[in-house]
Subunit: 268 residues, 2 copies
Amino acid sequence: MSSFKKYRVGAKVRLADVDPGDRHLLNGSDSEQRAQLDELAQELDDLQNLLHAEGKRKLLLVLQGMDTSGKDGTVRWVFSRTSPLGVRVAAFKAPSLDELAHDFLWRCHAVVPRAGEIAVWNRSHYEDVLVPVVEGWIDKAETQRRYAHINDFERLLTETGTVVLKCMLHIGKDEQRERLQARIDEPAKNWKFAMGDLDARKKWDLYQRAYARLLDATSTKNAPWYVVPADSKTHRNLMIAQLLVKTLKDMKLSTPPADPALRGLIVP
Amino acid sequence: MSSFKKYRVGAKVRLADVDPGDRHLLNGSDSEQRAQLDELAQELDDLQNLLHAEGKRKLLLVLQGMDTSGKDGTVRWVFSRTSPLGVRVAAFKAPSLDELAHDFLWRCHAVVPRAGEIAVWNRSHYEDVLVPVVEGWIDKAETQRRYAHINDFERLLTETGTVVLKCMLHIGKDEQRERLQARIDEPAKNWKFAMGDLDARKKWDLYQRAYARLLDATSTKNAPWYVVPADSKTHRNLMIAQLLVKTLKDMKLSTPPADPALRGLIVP
């Protein structure tokens, strides 16, 4: 299992230090890589079973990234072996009127993982320090307040039994062009394309700057951000699967102890 | 693909007609059976992708059955290849105070599948015509009213784009004894056992009668009940996987058509 310190945002690592084209985990032929991922996916299922059996702690995986960075694909492949019993995905879209009528963490709090569960957030509360910042809807003071609200919220989660892992799926601007163009050129993919994707692309640099800032402000000891090189889909999947397996192993999960009250009991 | 008419509750089929030990789908060695299930699970994933791509209709799978009948195991194996992106499991436990303060369908309505999604209910609104009936908390008139509320609710769902499939996982009383005893005898399984399971087992015949009545009253053309022989776990999984694949194929799902507005568009 690799060490991912170089990708963990902190005093020494910032978004700009990570190359979206980094493929250092790729090793062997395509089919060998698929086998590696499948083995990790299987290991993840075993660990998820233990998390469920223990029934106390929770795991939250936050996935962020520009359009086409592969958030859906990550869920599909990394959790390809995990039972939907124990993995709950929440996809955050533009907030509804009802959601806008509440503070920005309200809709997120409603879908945090329950004991024994893994929750995966496809986009998250971090959208609220991206779009509004890029569009200039909130000023610096409000942005700082939101960073603080986010850090407080995540401290609540981690201090009440949730392990929080955050991954920024980092693709390059050229890679995004190719992926968007494929959605336009291949009729069967047209439904995945939205004109709004081009508007966001025009603001690429503003988004990268907003990402760099939020990563710096919210990568904490207990809820770290990892920048995941994501131009290669296989590299992205392998890295996130490895991060998850390592995180769950570090939790030292185990089946609850035998119940002495059951010894010798016979079912009539 | 087998026809499952003989297992579909209606004028000619009732709970008592189905043998929990029926294994008619089993064919070949253990590893061949595993391969058959894996192929169905893969097919289910492909169909789920189409359901998501279409983004209009929904599928609801209701799983009911006595303790140890294999509801969790069904989810684990039948959906072993499906992305958690598109499959959402809701497990209904004894209602909370907040849930009791509402009508019995309130908590169910909150978790119906959204467009493009499969929802699996591990227990369901049918618990409200089981426990209260067996315990004598509600009289016949109220039970009839609840059947009618359930049929009305399911008509709302089916007339607004949800395909509803209901499976009663049917095990024999001896099989349940063996499964409960295993949870007692194997220390690593102790956490799955609850003393309350023995109380419900004492009322086995009352539960079977309550099941038979609710199946008769609520197996409708659009939301049929299938009685799934479940003494064999593999048989149970194969039958439910086949039912799901057939149901999804019958929906004639397809990718949305190409968008002419995208022709020739170049991503800058």
